[in-house]
């Protein structure tokens, strides 16, 4: 027996196979028979293939290894199994459905929020890097405003209905006189006083920022080195600045953005929203455009990151963007 199917065209092999079973059309059969007459090798292929089929058709039945007769018990068991299966079906179904249903990981929005916070933090880092090295009257307000906006983005809801009320709270928490009186006090003592005051106004959050704030600004400008609360202010208007608002700026810029909710509540307690900061006349810094543009770009990048990571949150992000626009913060 000579097997040479490796050289046999699959289409030709299929023709030969169907020819053996008389499954060709009249035209196909006529054409193939003409080829068979002209090509002895093809005729040989047909012969070996036909013999192979004959070998398989000649296979005898195998003897059953045992009798497969049924017993009443087998039939009853099959009926019981079928009944049980139909009763169990509702229990199985819920187990399967969740497996088929598209998975939407709950961590995805959280990851997007964390990414947004990181992006904003990075943006702020760049912004602060580019800010003038000298202290400007509006700096503290700007920084506080930045973190108010950051908190909004990180939470993702953007609906800060509490902001207007916060404005009323701040002056009570930090009377203007406090800053003026303590302006001349020695640095270490001032820090302690600030900590104590912050503990009174915003106990959980304010302590840490009050200690970390000087680390950010101290190297750049000696006048900023003291805690912002006690920083000598060039004008009486600045002395009315709520001290709580300026304190948290340092540590948050340094990357304390992992607790967005706390940041949010802190921003509220600190009493400054972006809206209030922008309305404040003290925002008239020498070059506010650089800062504001950088902030807007950061927020925009954060929103884009949220949409990319969690498309389902896109409507929410748009609401946030609309809210920011309504607050007078149009995004680029």
């Amino acid at each position: 027996m000579d097997f040479r199917d490796d050289a046999l065209n699959p289409d030709t092999a299929e023709l030969l196979s169907a020819y053996i079973d008389d499954a060709l059309s009249a035209d196909e059969r006529r054409d193939l028979e003409a080829r068979l007459r002209a090509e002895p090798a093809l005729q040989q292929e047909l012969d070996t293939l036909r013999q192979t089929v004959a070998l398989m058709r000649a296979l005898p039945e195998r003897k059953a290894p045992r009798d497969f007769t049924l017993t009443p018990e087998m039939v009853a068991q099959a009926d019981a199994a079928r009944t049980g299966a139909s009763q169990a079906a509702p229990q199985i179904r819920p187990r399967i459905v969740p497996r088929i249903a598209p998975r939407r990981p709950i961590w995805q929005p959280l990851t997007a929020a964390a990414a947004a916070v990181l992006i904003v933090a990075a943006g702020l880092f760049v912004i602060f890097d580019q800010l003038p090295l000298t202290t400007q009257p509006g700096d503290q307000v700007q920084v506080a405003a930045v973190f108010t906006a950051t908190a909004d983005v990180s939470v993702g809801t953007g609906a800060r209905s509490a902001q207007p009320e916060v404005l009323d709270v701040v002056p009570q928490a930090a009377p203007p006189e406090t800053a003026v009186e303590e302006a001349a006090v020695e640095e270490a003592a001032v820090e302690e006083a600030a900590e104590a005051e912050m503990a009174d106004s915003v106990p959980p959050i304010a302590e840490e920022p009050a200690q970390a704030a000087p680390d950010l600004r101290q190297p750049t400008t000696p006048t900023v080195a003291p805690a912002p609360t006690q920083m000598p202010l060039p004008s009486p208007e600045i002395a009315t600045m709520p001290e709580a608002a300026s304190i948290p700026s340092g540590p948050r810029t340094a990357g304390a953005a992992d607790d967005a909710a706390e940041t949010d509540s802190a921003a509220e307690s600190e009493g400054l929203s972006f809206e209030s900061a922008e309305a404040d006349p003290m925002l008239a810094t020498p070059d506010p455009a650089l800062f504001v543009d950088g902030l807007r770009l950061s927020v925009r990048a954060a929103l884009a990151a949220i949409i990319e990571q969690a498309p389902a949150a896109a409507p929410l992000v748009r609401v946030l963007a609309a809210l920011l626009t309504a607050l007078g913060i149009p995004l680029p």
Binding site: I20, K63, F68, L70
Partner: protein, 228 residues
């Protein structure tokens, strides 16, 4: 003109009753009235149904064995097929009971193969000489021990080649070539179109032919071509 549906008897085998051999459990054909037994079975007569089982169990087991390539699985499929046939007997609208049960066992094996996505594997115990290999059944009137031995060896080789096929090709080949079903029957049973039946069958036949190269010496002289 091709010998399309003509079944050849193995050259070394004596013709038997459609390739089947008698078994002690098989009832006397003269007393076997399939239609009557079916009527009785439909009325719940399990003994009547069991006479049908004994009549066709070799045939059904052979199909299952060649599809499953595993004696234990084949026995399970055979038992399930008869059980299913008994419980679905009301759906049987006449015709050949054997063909009907054959379709049931094919479908059951098909489902099982799909379920486990079994791959062609060598079942060492089933190979010639293996523990569970009882070999092809001896013809009722074997002409000679030498011929019987040669036939058994050749049949075992052919079965091994069939067993080595992939599931899809083996299903089509067993149904068409071993069971002698038409393309249309195979297509309906497996839920595939006729073109797929043709192509799978062609590839399966070529694969078996190639596989048999290893046992050329077993092939009958009239199967050998002049180039040897």
């Amino acid at each position: 003109m091709p010998d399309s549906q003509q079944r050849r008897q193995h050259p070394t085998m004596q013709p038997t009753d459609q390739g089947t051999r008698s078994t002690p459990a098989q009832p006397d054909p003269l007393q076997f009235d399939e239609a009557l037994l079916l009527d009785q079975a439909r009325q719940g007569d399990l003994d009547a149904f069991n006479r049908l089982v004994l009549r066709y169990q070799d045939r059904i087991y052979s199909i299952a064995y060649r599809l499953m390539s595993d004696p234990a699985s084949a026995a399970d499929m055979t038992q399930e097929a008869f059980l299913m046939a008994y419980r679905k007997l009301a759906d049987f609208r006449g015709g050949s009971f054997r063909s009907w049960v054959s379709r049931i066992v094919v479908n059951r094996c098909y489902d099982e193969l799909r379920r486990y996505q079994r791959r062609p594997a060598d079942y060492l115990d089933d190979l010639p000489g293996g523990d569970s290999d009882d070999g092809p059944p001896l013809p009722a009137d074997a002409p000679s021990p030498e011929q019987a031995a040669q036939t058994n060896e050749l049949n075992a080789a052919v079965e091994n080649c069939i067993r080595a096929l992939g599931d899809d090709q083996r299903l089509v080949l067993v149904m068409a070539d071993v069971e002698g079903q038409s393309y249309q029957e195979v297509a309906e049973a497996l839920g595939i179109n006729l073109g797929t039946v043709k192509s799978r069958l062609s590839r399966a036949r070529l694969a078996v032919r190639r596989c048999l190269q290893a046992v050329k010496e077993l092939l009958p002289p009239e199967f050998r071509l002049t180039d040897e």
